[in-house]
Amino acid sequence: MTARTRAAVLATASLNGLSRRLGLGGGTVVGGRLGLAIAPNLLEVLGSARTVAVVSGTNGKTTTTRLLAAALEEAGSPVVTNATGSNMPAGHVAAMAAGPPNATAVLEVDEGYVPAIVHSLAPAAVVLLNLSRDQLDRSNEVRMVAARWRGTFAAAGGTVIANADDPLVVFGAQSAHSVVWVAGGMRWRSDASGCPACGGRIRFDAHGWSSECGFARPKPDVDVDEGPDGTTTAVFADGRRLAVVLAIPGSFNRRNAVLAAAAAEVLGVPADRALSAMGRIEGVAGRFSLHSVRGVPTRLLLAKNPAGWAELLDLVAPGSSPVVVAINARVADGRDPSWLWDVPFERLAGRSVVATGERSADLSVRLDYAGVTHERVVDPTDAVAVASRLAGHTEGSQPEKHVEDKRVEDNGVEEQEPVEFIGNYTAFHDLLRASRAS
């Protein structure tokens, strides 16, 4: 390291520490920006003496990054990661500057930055989850992202661990010299009907997908069996069958855990050890875990686009708990909430539903046409309180059979079915700030 890069590392770590101490923020971006300004090659320098693993895709990358980091920590070596989801180079610099120079880095990377990061850091493993539209009024068309990935991996080393079920991911990954294909699942197909290879049609059937030009689903190296009772089993090419049991909910999370386990194996951690470490993760940056919002137990869920919403509505659909749906349309959310009409909100019909957020008027019209009876409460914390009341959770109005079961926990949170709060990006983070862990 030159004196200049040493100064840049020091500046990054110091400014981030200062920012955190002053309570100005998570301190992951500001220091990284300063470091990159001092030494533009800081990323390359920081990456040169360590193993790097990268996780990218439209949905699930923050959670999968956390799972993979847990799996690699299991091996006993130090791990640094951009756990707060600052997934652009300033965040990567900050994460690496915060730990020892030889610590393994597990980095969540924005889809558009994959070429730059692969070029700068030469990761040993790259996990590619899925590609679908995300806030289209400010980002690239997804096909273009897949084409750029394809060009990048044709000229890169390392191993790509890719979702064989997503045609756009396969198109982006199959140019790599070493690929591990995983049956990562694909709930959302609306963005993948055009063949990225020939422009024709992709046809999906029970066995996978194919296009008339011969572009087709690769045979997975790691398959996934899903039982009717919600059990998930990873099936490796050598015959190993490993149960995927996570503390966080959702079949999409279990599928992503299989991708992370395959990546852990590439990096030297056996998949069974990796999976048991991942199973202990209970919440990821506030997602999936239980919080208290004005005393109401609330499970916080984040969805940013139609594919993510479809997954989370699947997750909450079997229950009977009240649901709060929160929609904003700030720059980070995408200014255009038209995508609400692509989300299958019909699945919430019959539930106690409260619409909230800065764009709750749009949501309210959408829910009405979906046949979902609901109330609209603009303030999100008020909305949680109203949802709890709607479901009869308050003293006095609670159905009698529940009253006897109800216990008051030490932290004042009553033990009752939690309110499900699903928000898009800024709506989720606003509520996370207004709540406390329970």
Partner: protein, 247 residues
């Protein structure tokens, strides 16, 4: 009046469904049903022949799928025949360009459209038109429209059509007008679920499709709340800017 269910076809959601445009078909079907008019809503994918219908909606799409959809619709021929026979068409964004005479492919070459509206689209400058759009519509009884636009095309209206209306906020066709209409074919850059924000336009299309001049009024208080909020958000900004220029 129709003696059978009103048939509404969402054209090629597999190719033309980028911005929640399927919402337009849903809004039309529900608004018919709420008045006791049975409606059949069909999502017609591009691998099957296009069904005959009373009302078609076309959505937005990326460059490649837009060309594919146009070729399929031209080969299929059903949509053009249906329009000759009086079917109603509501086309937004890329769908609006498709029903015109030509539009640009990704490389800028002119692709022949379906020719249902006398409009031609060419590539605009480097900046896409992205944002809230407010249009004062020339269509009878429709009034002010609110929507969101996101397109790179600039569209010229020919003598065979009238512009849909005058742009108050936003870009639209690029000449202070938005969209076009002729007979029962309506095109606009208000993309996505434009009819959810503009129930009066939805009802005009429904009255054309059902042959009923007097549709029963519906409780639209949710839609009206949304419209007030959108106009408040979009209009003052422009007026603030205007005042700054005048100063």
């Amino acid at each position: 009046m129709l003696s059978r269910p009103l048939r509404i076809v969402v054209v090629y959601p597999d190719l033309l469904g980028t911005y929640g445009d399927g919402g337009n078909g849903l809004v039309l079907a529900r608004r018919a049903e709420r008045r006791g008019i049975p409606a059949e809503l069909i999502q017609a994918t591009s691998d099957d022949p296009l069904p005959s219908a009373d009302l078609y909606t076309l959505g937005g799409g990326e460059d490649g799928p837009q060309v594919q959809a146009t070729e399929s619709l031209t080969d299929d021929g059903t949509l053009a025949r249906a329009v000759e026979n009086g079917a109603v068409v509501f086309a937004v964004c890329a769908g609006y360009q498709i029903v015109g005479t030509t539009f640009p492919a990704a490389d800028g070459t002119a692709v022949p459209g379906l020719g249902l509206l006398d409009v031609t689209t060419v590539k605009g400058g480097a900046r896409r038109a992205v944002g809230e759009i407010v249009v004062d519509a020339d269509l009878p009884g429709v009034g002010r429209l609110t929507g969101f636009e996101n397109h790179g095309g600039v569209t010229a209206t020919g003598p065979g059509v009238r512009a849909l209306g005058r742009v108050r906020v936003g870009v639209g066709n690029g000449d202070h007008t938005d969209g076009a209409w002729s007979g029962r074919v309506v095109g606009t850059y208000l993309h996505g679920p434009a009819l959810a924000r503009n129930p009066a336009l939805a009802d005009l299309l429904l009255s054309w499709a059902t042959g009923s001049d007097e549709l029963a009024p519906l409780d639209d208080h949710l839609e009206q709340a949304l419209r007030r909020e959108r106009f408040d958000a979009a209009l003052p900004r422009r007026y603030r800017l205007q005042r700054r220029w005048e100063r």
